[in-house]
Subunit: 462 residues, 2 copies
């Protein structure tokens, strides 16, 4: 936090100088009104409740995915968006049918596990084998060629908890490619400690990959308490045998839709602020945190803006498809809009749960920074600090856009301390969302999007 | 807490007067040594780790139950108990094979459920029906005769959280007899909100009963977030259809053992202090809180006493069988020892998790109270308050004993605020136990048991 405060101090001088020039008193009054309305409105939580209750899980390609698309169109229309439309999105379709696991010896015990996305099936009776433990993916890679011959590899690496989720990256490598490395050492199955900070018995799913030329072996994650148990049993020195049963299917190419709603700008409607989240979720929970919250709060934010003042530029809410399977909706959006990405004057995706926004950061041209600082000033009443380093990531679904063109992106950094207690588990449900915190998020997006859309000149990327 | 403080104030006067007469300085020094040793020893946690790791779940009648009996004998012997023996226990044997559930409409969503103990099976494909909601068991009872005809009854009653678990009693009635009342109203299945304070997606199992002459219908509990979801869906006004699948079996009479270890008293070994817990657990978790903790801390407490001073009377640790199915081991113990229950000079079962002991209460003859007050005085350094009302329950497995004879019982009241977050769920695992709190429990039992066993005269029941 100290670093953030220094950033504010350093940028404080310029904040003051340009204040009145960029946004006039009427605009600033409108900002205050939007912020206040958002902080008092239950709308975002109502939208989230509707999505997670009436649809529930929204795994790409499923019937629920189709229901969610219909739900989103209806909701945009009901909220009075000027334009509501679908854009096709294609993705590799995979389906989980069933999964279970148990320790067989030294004594029979249930194992709480979940298949990683893309896992092949086991035979109907599962696979049964002794477990060989590695503390890290690196340790597995460094092991001799036959180190896991006919065994089930278990990687015991535990993710760290932190406000910005920085423990996720190092942990997730074992999810992405653990099964490949295990197969290279002769393993017949792969099992990892969940990429999760939870001490409850929920396994964490997520994308995983196979490699051409390496045999595809079933790949699962086990809950933290189960990983503790397996590690303790192995430490006792006797063989530990487990059974893993996964029934899943690769369905080839699937298709769905990005769902888009727009309030048109009053002066240059072709220019737009892009906010949004991803509509899809994993199949285990109801995707309240990941990413129902992002969907709901950005829809609500656009509505709050429009009910106070239509800005110069458009506000476009994009609900991306199939993010969980590899940003597929975002890739198709980037392709479809390739030639007009310069119309984006600001982009921010909310996809990190529903805890408070504690910091605001841009990634824009130097010439755009005075506007950014004005926005930061109007976010301060929401207890949001300004990070001046100008290196914001902007959210996962913006990656394909950033790879295609120079677009101005923003991060409204959320407190992610508890996010990985729920992320990609069955426990990601509505009750994990605090309505007051969701309001603060919606208010932050509304203030940011309105000011970016109504700024005296268009914000540009680096 | 206020009530407790008043109790202490009222009993404080008499505490002081009799202090030196009852326990001599050597005894008090031994008490201090036992207390200190217990507070520094990892023994209880080591025993608990061994039981929950090497055996895991210990459902009566299973292979793990047999392993646990062997484990307990070995552990008693290893700890140097003078006598270790088994006593037969019989119980109604029921086995859970599989269970699953889903909401079918308005959209398909998984339901996290567990069968209640004793549930009949559904057909192989489960039962599918619309849900009819009742807020309480009383509301169901008061409904017209055909109110749930061909439906699945859902009781939405939510358990209250409190330090002494007083929310359990009112909630558990719907578990015991909900299926009977639902069947009387024409239901084909029964589903209740879990008797649980958890906001995680774990369903709570537990005993349930059928009634002669009323049809037996499958009976399950759903996790709190799932109960929220079903209630929200019903509130939307459209029919909510669910599928419940339970495969279970009534195996008739099963058998197992109470496992007993004793350190013999130096002067009147036939008289004994009875401490203990129940060795069995539900099948979902590893029974760390319920009741591995009680097993471990009472075994350790006896060992601490013996390593400092052998008291006048014996210390007997009884690990009861099949408590979860209805106190069956305790009933058989009461029967087997019917004629010599007057040998029990104090009894206390630990069966309320592993949080700290915060209060001490007796249920003894008036003549025994001076000893009780001396014990209370030696528990005070462990931050344990004395409750002077002299109405202690003593723990579930003492009920059959109390029903058979007047025995002096004690409650070492544990903080149960979080207990029902884990109780009877898959999430009852070792990581939920704080080793320091377990030490405090073991110290409390050691101090209490030593003083009761070494008191100048035998404590008697009312």
């Amino acid at each position: 936090m100290k670093k953030l405060l220094i950033s504010i101090a350093l940028t404080g001088l310029s904040l003051h100088a340009s204040a009145e020039a960029l946004f006039n008193p009427t605009q600033l009054k409108q900002v205050a009104e939007i912020r206040q309305q958002a902080m008092q409105s239950p709308l975002a939580y109502e939208i989230l409740t509707s999505l997670t209750t009436e649809i529930g899980p929204r795994y790409p390609g499923t019937e629920n995915d189709k229901l969610a698309v219909k739900w989103a169109q209806d909701k945009f229309n009901h909220l009075g968006f000027d334009k509501v439309w679908l854009e096709p999105a294609n993705f590799p379709d995979w389906r989980r049918y069933s999964e279970s696991g148990k320790i067989i010896s030294p004594s029979e015990q249930p194992l709480h596990l979940t298949a990683l996305g893309n896992s092949v099936s086991t035979p109907k009776s599962g696979i049964t084998a002794d477990v060989v433990i590695f503390e890290t993916l690196e340790e597995l890679k460094a092991a001799p060629a036959n180190a896991a011959k006919d065994k089930i590899v278990f990687i015991n690496y535990r993710m760290n908890r932190d406000i910005d989720g920085n423990g996720y990256g190092p942990a997730v490598q074992a999810r992405n490619s653990g099964a490949v490395e295990a197969a290279k050492k002769g393993a017949i199955g792969y099992m990892m400690r969940s990429v999760s900070t939870s001490h409850h018995r929920f396994a964490h799913t997520g994308g995983s990959h196979y490699q051409e030329g390496t045999s595809k072996i079933p790949t699962v994650a086990i809950a933290n308490p189960d990983a503790d148990q397996v590690a303790r049993l192995i430490a006792l020195g006797n063989p530990v045998k487990v059974n893993i049963n996964v029934q899943a299917e690769d369905l080839g190419q699937g298709s769905g839709f990005n769902v888009i709603g727009q309030f048109n700008g009053a002066e240059t409607p072709e220019q737009y602020v892009l906010i949004g989240g991803h509509l899809d979720s994993w199949d285990l929970g109801t995707g309240a945190l990941d990413d129902g919250a992002g969907v709901a709060l950005t829809m609500a934010a656009a509505k709050f803006i429009n009910s106070v003042q239509r800005p110069k530029r458009s506000i476009r809410v994009v609900l991306f498809a199939a993010e969980e399977l590899g940003l597929w909706g975002a890739k198709d959006y980037a392709k479809a809009h390739k030639k007009e990405l310069s119309n984006i004057v600001a982009a921010a995706e909310s996809d990190f749960g529903a805890d408070v926004v504690y910091a605001f950061e841009s990634n824009v041209s130097a010439a755009s920074l005075p506007i950014v600082r004005e926005i930061a000033k109007q976010l301060a009443p929401l207890n949001i600090e300004y990070i001046g380093r100008n290196k914001a990531g902007g959210g996962p679904d913006l990656i394909p856009l950033k790879n295609t063109a120079s677009i101005p992106v923003f991060s409204l950094h959320q407190d992610g301390t508890d996010y990985f207690d729920y992320h990609h588990t069955a426990d990601d449900t509505l009750d994990k969302v605090d309505p007051a915190k969701l309001q603060q998020n919606a208010a932050a997006y509304a203030v940011f999007a309105f000011m970016a859309a109504d700024a005296p000149y268009a914000i540009r990327g680096k």
